[in-house]
């Protein structure tokens, strides 16, 4: 029986590496491992620093998630010091988070994931007249003339023919797992390019509320801006109008481009329902309408769904030492009892590498094989991210989410179980984006109403001075980042950071095995995936990209002896 091993390995060091290996037998994946290949030592940098400064460091962990790390950081300090923030600050943080989600999700689909579904070279053969009539039949988006599509086609053709394949160089063009007709491929390529124009606009919301973008400013106790509707130098009506116009533009783009595209594409892939993987889904919840301490007020519901049982949602307590724990039995960290799980407040970051000397052909999954720890909830592996949030909200009976899900599944003539797949994960992200644009409109109205009622407070300075802090305190800050549940746990001693642990969404999803040999989400999602052509593992990339991994990867294809057959680099 022919067994091969596929490796997806590291390329860049910007956001940390991921390496994935899959064992292939008879064109089907029978086992997989997922490994973080770069040690993440932000915890070590933070020790001994002022807790109020931590956000500025964690913001730099990753260039994609600057907002979410900063937010989780100020929230953990506020939790430790029992600081309540003003209503305006809560709304503004929610607006920034929703804007980040819309930007990140839309960018992810068009710029990082679309070409796993859309074949660029096939699009060059399309009839633009037919693409135009398809576009007009699914959306009111005005850019839909045959000339528009013809121009795009010509431009891409010239770019490709001049040898500057560049942005389009990393594709398995012509692969049998591509299922769209050329005309729909052209539609996808056109909107891939259109998304670039659009994505520059939504982030301007961050510049308004955070003073600048990239790397907006944050503050423990509120938001670092003043509000006065008539003052030129602060948040005034003119800037708020700019925010409103960006929200409206985003909503139009998502309603008229993203959602119709996803549904059109999904219609051709609705029989490819592999890639579901784990059957446990977790959301910490986010977007408090009152306070972060009142989960019942969250617009993104909190909870856990086990075994895909949508009739029951379990509660989570991030402070309970027995619920969230990290395991290092297959990770390169020193720990007295390698089998024990540690709650993040007790977490340690002591590297102890005993893997093969790089560059290596393959990792040994029976030993330590990752810099990523294995986080578990009550010992169970969890998927986090858009699909998890949608599943939890659906199981909780959230009306708006349920309607979005049911409407789109009805259009595709698919049952709700179809969500548990690579396609479902991608659909869930799009539906969540649509929900966020609705939420943005509501949050903006809330903010204006609150300001007009006379409340311009944005900062609670009561406990800013360390004189007013207890000598020891501990807190947890969380948010739902675009990629999933993000938690920061802090211990403060004598005004300084004594311990700081982050458990990031990709740590949950890219987790290695634990002491009980349970797979993490990436590993589980690859198993049983059929490969049309193992030399070009398009299906693996599609599944891994459907999680929106915060990493960069390269694909290597190995035969059973570990000899490299092909190398394909992918980028994130």
């Amino acid at each position: 029986m022919a067994t091969k091993r596929i490796v997806i390995g590291p390329v860049t060091r910007v956001e940390g590496h991921l390496r994935v290996e899959a064992v292939v037998e008879d064109n089907k994946i029978i086992d997989a491992i997922s490994a973080g290949t770069v040690f993440r030592g932000i915890e070590i940098i933070l020790k001994g620093r002022d807790p109020r400064d931590a956000w500025a460091f964690v913001q730099r962990i990753c260039g994609v998630c600057t907002h979410t790390h900063a937010l989780a950081s100020i929230r953990c300090v506020e939790d430790a010091l029992k600081i309540e923030i003003p209503k305006n600050a809560n709304i503004i943080r929610n607006i920034m988070a929703a804007a980040q989600d819309v930007h990140d999700h839309t960018n992810h689909f068009y710029l990082l994931h679309a070409l796993d579904w859309v074949d660029v070279i096939s699009a060059l053969k399309a009839d633009p007249v037919q693409t135009s009539s398809i576009a007009a039949s699914i959306s009111d988006w005005p850019l839909n003339s045959a000339n528009y599509f013809k121009d795009i086609q010509t431009k891409v053709k010239n770019f490709v023919e001049s040898g500057q394949l560049g942005i389009f160089a990393n594709g398995y063009w012509g692969h049998p797992a591509y299922r769209l007709p050329p005309e729909v491929n052209l539609l996808g390529v056109a909107h891939y390019i259109e998304a670039l124009n659009w994505q520059k606009e939504i982030v301007k919301i961050h510049a308004v509320f955070g003073g600048k973008n990239p790397h907006p400013n944050y503050v423990v106790g509120g938001v670092p801006v003043s509000i006065n509707l008539n003052d030129y130098n602060v948040i005034n009506m003119e800037r708020l109008n700019l925010v409103k116009s960006k929200i409206d533009e985003a909503k139009t783009f998502v309603d008229q481009v993203l959602i119709p595209d996803i549904l059109a594409i999904a219609g051709f892939y609705k029989n490819d329902l592999w890639g579901g993987g784990l059957s446990n889904y977790m959301s910490y919840g986010d977007f408090p309408m009152t306070s972060i301490n009142e989960p019942d007020s969250f617009l993104i519901p909190r909870g856990i769904v086990l075994d895909r049982d949508l009739t029951q949602v379990h509660d989570i307590d991030l402070q309970d030492p027995k619920q969230i724990q990290e395991f290092v039995s297959h990770a390169w960290y020193r720990q007295d009892d390698k089998e024990a799980g540690l709650h993040p407040w007790e977490g340690k970051t002591e590297p102890q590498y005993d893997g093969p000397k790089p560059p290596y052909d393959k990792l040994d999954e029976t030993k330590g094989y990752s810099w990523s720890k294995a986080p578990r909830w009550q010992g169970k592996p969890m998927e986090v991210g858009p699909l998890a949030r949608i599943v939890v909200a659906y199981a909780k009976g959230n009306k708006e989410i349920k309607e979005l899900v049911d409407t789109s599944l009805r259009k595709l003539n698919l049952p709700v179980e179809a969500l548990f797949s690579t396609l479902g994960r991608t659909l869930a992200r799009a539906l969540e984006t649509q929900y966020r644009t609705k939420v943005l409109v509501r949050l903006y109205d809330d903010l204006i109403a609150n300001i007009k009622a006379g409340d311009t407070s944005t900062f609670n300075k009561e406990k800013w001075d360390p004189e007013n802090w207890p000598s020891e305190a501990q807190g947890v800050g969380f948010c739902e980042a675009p990629r999933g549940a993000l938690g920061h746990w802090i211990k403060i001693k004598d005004g300084k950071i004594d311990n700081y642990q982050t458990v990031v969404p990709t740590t949950w999803n890219a987790s290695p095995r634990d002491a009980n040999q349970q797979h993490g989400a990436y590993e589980a999602s690859m198993i049983d995936t059929p490969l049309a052509n193992p030399e070009q593992p398009l299906e693996v990339l599609r599944t891994i990209h459907s999680f929106d991994p915060c990493i960069a990867c390269a694909t290597h294809l190995l035969d059973p002896q570990g000899k490299e057959l092909a190398v394909v680099k992918t980028k994130k």
Binding site: T12, I45, R60, H215, K571
Partner: protein, 161 residues
Amino acid sequence: MSIYHGIKILGIGNLVRRDEGVGVHLLRALENTLPPEIELLDGGTTGLNLLEFVENAQKLIVLDAVEAGENPGEVVVWRKEQVPYFIATKMSVHQLGFAEVLNWAKFREKYPEDIVVIGVQPQCLDWGTELSEPVQQALPAALKEISLILEEWGVTSAGSK
């Protein structure tokens, strides 16, 4: 319109990965030393978010840590077509993100008319906020290269308040 209009300087890199952040360290050293029309941006590792800044530049200086095969602390200057705008051999550690930005600017026909990369060969990319000694010592040489380029573009007050 000022002759400085359209000149932009972009520092990229990861500030918590020691020498990775040298581009941002250089950018910070330039703050408040140049005519205000010259726009500076700390791009971090934010990738495509930088597209608009790049497309709005007529003349662009990019400051970055680069894998140039030189000794740590060596300063390299890449001009125009030497700048790797497509993903071929990886030279800068941010190239996958930033090369894509340049690539899109080219595709969209909004590529700066002049572009210069001033890079420093890193020694240490571990977690940490301080530069390694050879890279720290290279900062004056890199700042000198920046002022030479700016002089060439007609900026005379470079390096002084």
